[in-house]
């Protein structure tokens, strides 16, 4: 009979044995797979949710002007004279590419229990509105003012393009709008509650007097000059609050990193408990397993063969548990919307209509998570097998 053969044939034979062992110890291995799946699933859910929210906010902030100027009264933002635009942000100010007054605001619709963000598509918002529907806004106002709504809002309001929609304005007077289009943006968060209308319609809906704007938006030639331009604006308008887009980015990052980090830290005891359980179950080799290793040694298995078979067995359990956990997390976050967990990450802000998260996965993080689970698990399982396999077969069988 020919003696030692190539590595792959040997490994395939040992893998066959490991698969048989998985079946023979099905209950224990099944319990391990389920435990790993749950822990990895919870971790991966936090990971997916925070990555997805980060993506949403990045999308949102991409559509945000470099600087937003609000007028503050009694420490709260209030409307601003649209005519003050040239005085506050001169078009020839250094670093300013363009500036415009924005007409937008929130409108609570009791019937659906939701706040809508009404955006008046003035000159500055036309490009934004066009990016949502992929076509220019209707050129002429028809008999009935038009509106564009996001698909989630359309579903909530039960309307389709061509339908007419009656909603109360800020004075609770009913306004009728025609749904001219429904947009389905790649990112859900920044359009989930948006309704785009003509500027004049927005003023009526929001009860915003003529000549007044919600705020001023500034687009800069070089965003890094924002602090200098903002300082100039504050000089010209002492009661202004100037919001720098980059500061918002940092705030959101800190918020979500902090919350996901906190949730992750809370899960550390779960992971520790799992490894303790695994250690307890795997390190204390049962008599039957110990004797089996002794028999394998006695019939000609080398220590490395025993370890390789054990490594295959535990790796299959760990990989199955970890990837099932990742799949579970994917379904929980992107299929079900992460009920329970989303609230902890979103914080106080409840979003209406329901936010459907765009699936975003950081593959490196997912692989790292799987690796962090699989490697220690395999190590925990292999060490006792190695200890038993290095004994004389007779000792291992006692």
């Amino acid at each position: 009979m020919s003696e030692p053969v190539g590595g792959w044939r040997r490994q395939r034979a040992l893998l066959d044995y490991a698969l048989g062992s998985l079946r023979r110890r099905g209950r224990r291995n099944g319990a391990m797979v389920v435990a790993l799946m749950v822990v990895v699933g919870v971790y991966a859910s936090v990971l997916f949710l925070s990555e997805s929210l980060r993506h949403e906010w990045e999308q949102t902030l991409e559509a945000t002007p470099d600087l937003v100027v609000q007028r503050m009264v009694a420490g709260r933002p209030t409307t601003i004279e649209a005519g003050a635009l040239e005085a506050v942000v001169p078009t020839d100010a250094p670093g300013v590419r363009r500036a415009w007054a924005r007409t937008w605001g929130y409108l609570f619709v009791e019937a659906i229990g939701a706040n809508l963000t009404v955006i008046g598509a003035g000159p500055g918002e036309r490009a934004f509105a066009r990016s949502l529907v992929g076509e220019p806004l209707p050129a002429e106002e028809g008999e009935v003012p038009f509106c564009l709504v996001g698909d989630a809002l359309a579903e909530r309001l039960a309307v389709r393009p061509g339908d007419r929609l009656a909603i109360p304005d800020a004075r609770q007077e009913t306004r009728v709008l025609e749904v001219a289009g429904v947009f389905d943006a790649a990112s859900a968060l920044h359009v989930a509650d948006v309704m785009v209308v003509r500027e004049a319609t927005a003023r009526e809906l929001l009860a915003l007097p003529a000549g007044q704007a919600t705020d001023l938006a500034v687009e800069l030639a070089r965003p890094e000059e924002a602090p200098v331009v903002a300082a100039g604006i504050r000089e010209r308008m002492p009661d202004a609050r100037v919001i720098d887009r980059r500061a918002l980015v940092r705030t959101y990052e800190l918020t979500f990193d902090g919350r996901s980090g906190l949730l992750g830290a809370l899960l550390v005891p779960c992971l520790a408990a799992l490894f303790l359980l695994a250690w307890d179950r795997l390190t204390g080799l049962g008599d039957a397993e110990r004797r089996e290793i002794g028999v394998l040694k006695a019939i000609g298995w080398e220590t490395r063969d025993v370890i390789a078979a054990r490594l295959w067995e535990s790796a299959l359990v760990a990989i199955a548990g970890a990837w099932l956990g990742v799949l579970l997390a994917y379904g929980y976050v992107f299929g079900l919307g992460a009920p329970g967990l989303a609230g902890a990450l979103f914080g106080w802000s409840a979003l209406h209509p329901e936010l459907a998260l765009t699936p975003v996965i950081d593959a490196t993080q997912a692989w790292t998570l799987v690796g962090l689970v699989v490697l220690p698990f395999v190590g925990v399982a292999v060490v006792p097998a190695w200890r038993a396999a290095t004994l004389d077969p007779d000792e291992a069988m006692r």
Binding site: M1, S2, E3, P4, V5, G6, G7, R9, R10, R12, A13, L14, D16, Y17, G20, R23, R24, A288, R291, E292, G294, V295, L296, K297, A298, I299, G300, W301, E302, T303, R304, D305, A309, T390, D392, P393, D394, E395, M397
Partner: protein, 245 residues
């Protein structure tokens, strides 16, 4: 050591095995085995020397606790002696590295344990083929040989049966088939008739005698007088308190 080096060593060892055909297949020289049992030092084997030639059926006879199972393990390289030397097929298995000793044992020694030690969740055929896994698993030839062994041992219809469904006698014969699947020079049997009735004991003895006739050195430990008194046995060696009487 690499696979190629292992293979070279295997060829050298095979040559050594052939050269040693005229010599005893198993040689124990002044073997001593001590171990600790709950902090107590136990002298299990005390200076035993023994030679077993090819085609011999040697029975180690002695009461429980006399050290015959330990001696059997020492003769097959399953247990490392505290002192002395054991040669199997012309080479000392005491001074080999663990993986060389295991490979040597796989090649030259087949073992049937007292507790049978078949893996319960596997089929009988899978159990018989288990020693082949480190060699890359069983090909058609190996499966055919295993099936032929099972058929010869009256287990042809049980090849796919799970071990826990088999009777004591069937398990005994299955364990013997597993020990023989790699065609070893030496066959070690620990209490081969302990768990079977008279009929199955006789069947087992017949199979053992057949293997002896094929030129294998067979060493069996027992306290069963039926085996010790059987005419097919070449030699009975009495073991008492770790020594040969």
């Amino acid at each position: 050591m690499s696979e190629a080096a292992d293979e070279a060593a295997g060829a050298e060892e095979a040559a050594a095995g052939e050269m040693a055909a005229e010599e005893p297949v198993v040689v124990a020289e002044e073997v001593v085995k001590r171990y600790f049992d709950g902090g107590r030092r136990v002298l299990a084997i005390d200076g035993v020397s023994l030679e077993v030639a090819a085609g011999e059926l040697v029975v180690l006879m002695g009461p429980s606790g006399s050290g015959k199972t330990t001696l059997l393990g020492l003769l097959g390289g399953l247990i490392t002696p505290t002192k002395g030397d054991v040669k199997v097929a012309g080479r000392s298995v005491v001074h080999m590295r663990d993986h060389h000793r295991t490979a040597w044992r796989r090649r030259h020694v087949g073992v049937v344990f007292q507790e049978l030690m078949l893996v319960p969740g596997m089929s009988l055929l899978e159990n018989v083929l288990l020693p082949l896994a480190p060699l890359g698993g069983a090909g058609k030839d190996e499966v055919a040989r295993a099936e032929a062994l099972l058929a010869r041992f009256g287990l042809g219809d049980e090849r796919d049966a799970r071990v826990r469904r088999l009777s004591g006698g069937e398990r005994q014969r299955g364990a013997l088939a597993r020990a023989l699947v790699l065609e070893p020079n030496v066959l070690l049997l620990d209490e081969p008739t302990a768990h079977v009735d008279a009929e199955n004991a006789e069947a087992m003895l017949e199979l053992i005698a057949e293997e002896t006739a094929r030129g294998r050195a067979v060493i069996a430990s027992t306290h069963d007088p039926r085996l010790a008194e059987d005419a097919r046995v070449s030699r009975v060696v009495r073991v008492e308190a770790g020594k040969l009487a």
